[in-house]
């Protein structure tokens, strides 16, 4: 069905696929003649065709046509092969075999890569073997590979938080200069530029994803006149509009308890907290509530003290965030205590339960293009709420900033990247093959497609925020501006909270989840006790991994 749709589009479209390919092949051949070095300077040759190419790939399979399939991925991969063809000759890597380790999330991630790389394999003659990991297995598998010296892959899809574990031990290959120019790293949004992706000044990472939590809310709740009227009576006198601070989120959430959802007619709920752990990823959601309280604009650190790695997770800011969660637990849907973030976002929020959540950017594109969404049109986006006051950890007191509420978007996970392992360096053909595959996946045009369709990846380049392109692809202008704008605002926020890229960071998150679960189940006396338990467990982990080295790496990751 999707293939038919695509073909229809092609027939109706201005430009046939064949024409595009023909044009590309000739420019590619030309560039191949002039060799690698000139290929770089001659880059704009193919870029001229770019606008139409980008418009074309955004139409595969088309917004509202459901989730893309294999055929779509391969077509996109084929259409975006131009830059690689400039530096790689046809059949150049014949006989090379590479192993690629990445995620298999719902047949996304690695399965998309397979589709994207199929034309690359056909062109270069290389062959790729795939290691697919369930998300829950990912961290464990990576750590075990490193610790037991069983690194059995050449290319890896990896998040920046693991850079400490991998590049810190010299396991990754340094990016060659020709790759840098192909993937146009200057186009990355601010926080993804160095030092992220680098270690000791060397570049390792091809970004394919940008991550930050944004705030998604149901617009129909805030357009609802009954709610507005009721709020005027019960509320604090502020207008009934999407909350901009966590203090407002709390009030709205309590206010909405006991009302009826305008879309589904079932119980209405306010902000949804995922109360169950998620292999470490669940802690990001507490962070998102806490960053506005904890991240002071004058202080780059917020999770640990940079001097001695003393946890800040039990300071007043985090305790207040935990208390916030506990305060609204009674307003949550039943069984919320057993809802991990995935359930909360996809089975509750996208299915019409609850009116506000924090999530990575893809809930936005998913709301429109995924098969599993029923709320499509009534979702609005913003960067994460701020706070009226902010905790100054050094002074040990709450401060109200003259500039207004303190905002600190949580750059949770920093995004996936593609890394090449150092074990290919001994074979220059293999190394070039591996890097060209990585460069293909991190290509500027390809990434436009991955950020627009269900892929597991978010926008991460300044060129992704060209609203005109999205509109032409069939997205509603207002929706896209809203959705992409929330991401752009977060990425470029001067007070963005960036997580420490230190070894074992997910161990900290995982143990925090366990303790939080106990706290939420009422097994600790208070939010403070819960936070103290987390801090104690974190101190043990720091001691076990090695405090001095952690301090050193943490300072480095903060740029101190």
């Amino acid at each position: 069905m999707k293939v038919d749709l695509y073909n229809q589009l092609m027939r109706a479209g201005r430009l046939g696929r064949r024409d595009v390919l023909k044009g590309m092949a000739s420019t590619g051949a030309l560039a191949a003649f002039s060799g690698v070095a000139t290929g770089i300077s001659a880059r704009p040759v193919w870029a001229a065709d770019n606008a139409s190419l980008r418009a074309q790939i955004l139409k595969i399979p088309g917004v509202g046509a459901g989730s893309p399939t294999d055929a779509d991925w391969q077509k996109v991969g084929e259409l975006c092969l131009g830059p690689v063809k400039e530096v790689v000759q046809e059949g150049e890597f014949a006989g090379v075999e590479l192993t690629f380790m990445g995620l298999n999330n719902q047949n996304l991630h690695n399965f998309l890569f397979r589709g994207f790389l199929k034309p690359w394999e056909a062109y270069t003659g290389a062959k790729i073997n795939w290691i697919d990991l369930a998300q829950a297995d990912y961290n464990a598998r990576l750590q075990q590979s490193i610790a037991t010296q069983t690194v059995d892959f050449d290319i890896i899809e990896m998040g920046a938080p693991f850079e400490g574990d991998v590049t810190g031990r010299g396991l990754a290959s340094v990016m060659p200069d020709w790759v840098k120019s192909i993937i146009d790293m200057d186009d990355y949004v601010g926080y993804l530029k160095a030092p992220v992706g680098t270690w000791d000044g060397k570049t390792y990472r091809v970004s394919i994803d940008g991550d930050c939590h944004t705030f998604a809310y149901r617009t129909d709740y805030y357009d609802n006149e009954e709610f507005a009227k009721a709020w005027a009576e019960e509320g604090d006198g502020t207008p009934w509009e999407p909350p901009t601070t966590w203090q407002m989120v709390q009030k709205h959430t309590k206010f909405l308890a006991g009302k009826k959802d305008p879309l589904t007619g079932l119980d209405a709920h306010g902000y949804l907290d995922p109360l169950k752990g998620w292999g470490g990823f669940g802690f990001y959601f507490l962070e998102s509530r806490a960053t506005a309280y904890a991240k002071h604009p004058d202080d780059p650190a917020w999770l640990f003290d940079p001097e001695d790695m003393k946890p800040r997770v039990n300071n007043a800011a985090f305790v207040r965030a935990i208390q916030d969660v506990m305060d609204v637990m009674s307003t949550q849907p039943p069984d919320q205590i057993n809802a991990d973030p995935g359930t909360t976002a996809f089975q509750q929020f996208l299915a019409g339960t609850g009116s506000m959540i924090s999530w990575w950017g893809d809930v936005g594109s998913n709301a429109r293009t995924s098969d599993s969404s029923v709320v499509g049109d009534v979702v609005g986006f913003r960067h994460l709420p701020g706070s009226d006051d902010v905790w100054n950890h050094r002074k040990g007191e709450w401060e109200t900033l003259a500039s207004g509420p303190n905002e600190a978007p949580n750059m949770a996970y920093i995004g996936w990247g593609v890394y090449v392992m150092a074990r290919v360096d001994s074979d220059s053909k293999k190394q070039k093959a591996a890097w060209s595959a990585a460069a293909h996946l991190g290509g500027k045009d390809l990434s436009l497609w991955t950020s627009a369709y269900p892929s597991g990846f978010q926008p991460y380049r300044n060129s992704h925020f060209n609203y005109g392109e999205w509109e032409e692809a069939g997205y509603d202008r207002a929706f896209v501006e809203d959705y992409l704008g929330s991401n752009a605002d977060s990425y470029n926020h001067p007070n963005a909270a960036i997580e420490p890229r230190i070894p074992g960071i997910f161990q900290y998150y995982s143990v925090a989840e366990d303790e939080l679960a106990k706290g939420f189940a009422g097994q600790y006396g208070s939010a403070q006790e819960t936070a103290d338990a987390i801090a104690k467990a974190w101190e043990e982990i720091t001691d076990q991994i090695g405090r001095e080295r952690q301090v050193e790496l943490y300072k480095a990751s903060l740029g101190l």
Binding site: M1, V3, S67, T69, D70, A71, Q74, T99, M101, L103, N104, N105, Q106, N107, L108, F111, R114, G115, K118, N129, W130, I131, D132, L133, A134, Q135, A136, D137, R141, Q144, T148, Q149, T150, D152, F153, F281, P341, G342, T343, A345, F346, Q347, L350, A351, G352, W360, D362, N366, S370, D371, S372, S373, V374, P454, G456
Partner: protein, 306 residues
């Protein structure tokens, strides 16, 4: 007199009949209730694989009545009518894993049944002495392998297999699976052999067969139902094994349960795809269960009552 007698009888009959009838109703009521309990989840899994998001969200139950079946779930596996002839990476992946699962499950179950039957026969017929260990100790030694929590062996096996170059090979997986199911085979087969009268073999020995000859030609055929039962249990356990498969395989030998587990992640769950994959993963065992069910009970029966 006779009248009274008849009257009395029929009243008694009636009482008996109602009691018998209500008893029947209760029996079949329970049977049908439990059948629903057992089969509904399977029904749910299969029908969900034909649903779309709104059907799932609204909890539709009966295809064609509540909702129109769609091939969405199967399409995501490349197994729907319109994608089955097109190229599909997911289907390739699925088939590869399906093959690997089949190989590891069949090979390890066969190996376990062979090794286990031999050991069980030996233990049921002869007295051994390995050092301080006598028969009950040897039996317990085998059975204790069943107790080992898999996490104890996880990292050691990772290191051992790395050294032996067995990581990501079906052979490695088969060896490990054989180890985990061997105790069950020994357990079942020991009971099975004990129930076979020794006189049979004694007669065979008198006829000039060797011990092994008697074992292979006389005893094994009688014990066949037990072996089938043991084999099926092994299949169930090895086919569904997840932990070691996730740990020890990556590309060449990976199996199906790992793929089922990866249907979830930071993009939520596509229930239809999950259901389709689950259906495909449980179907072979369901078929085996239906076809070979009678052997299971027969096989378990032998040693049950002594």
């Amino acid at each position: 007199m006779s009248d009274k007698q008849i009257f009395h009888d029929s009243e008694f009959d009636l009482l008996q009949k109602t009691r018998w009838f209500s008893g029947r109703v209760a029996v079949y009521g329970i049977l049908i209730f439990w059948t629903v309990v057992c089969l509904f989840p399977i029904y749910w899994t299969i029908t969900t694989s034909f649903k779309m998001a709104p059907n799932v969200m609204q909890g539709h139950l009966v295809p064609l009545v509540d909702f129109t079946p769609r091939w969405l779930g199967w399409k995501s596996l490349g197994l729907s009518p319109d994608t089955i002839w097109a190229e599909s990476t997911v289907r390739e992946e699925f088939l590869k894993r399906f093959t690997n699962s089949t190989i590891s499950a069949l090979a390890s179950s066969t190996l376990a049944v062979i090794l286990g039957s031999m050991a069980a026969y030996g233990l049921s017929r002869f007295r051994y002495r390995f050092g301080f260990m006598r028969n009950p100790d040897i039996s317990f030694f085998f059975l204790s392998q069943l107790i080992l929590p898999p996490v104890v062996l996880a990292l050691p096996f990772l290191v051992l297999y790395k050294q032996l170059d067995l990581l990501d090979t079906s052979i490695g997986l088969v060896m490990l699976y054989t180890l985990t199911v061997l105790p069950i085979v020994i357990w079942i087969m020991r009971d099975q052999f004990s129930s076979i009268p020794v006189e049979l073999e004694e007669a065979a020995l008198v006829d000039g067969l060797s011990i092994w000859g008697a074992f292979l030609t006389i005893v094994l055929p009688i014990a066949l139902p037990g072996m089938v039962a043991a084999f099926i249990l092994c299949l169930v356990l090895t086919w569904n094994e997840y932990f070691f498969a996730a740990l020890l395989t990556s590309t060449d030998a990976k199996t199906l349960p790992v793929m089922v587990a990866s249907q979830t992640g930071s993009q939520g769950i596509n229930w239809w795809a999950m259901a389709a994959l689950s259906t495909a993963a449980i179907l072979p065992l369901i078929i085996i269960g239906i076809v070979l069910e009678r052997y299971i009970i027969k096989g378990m029966a032998a040693g049950a009552v002594k």
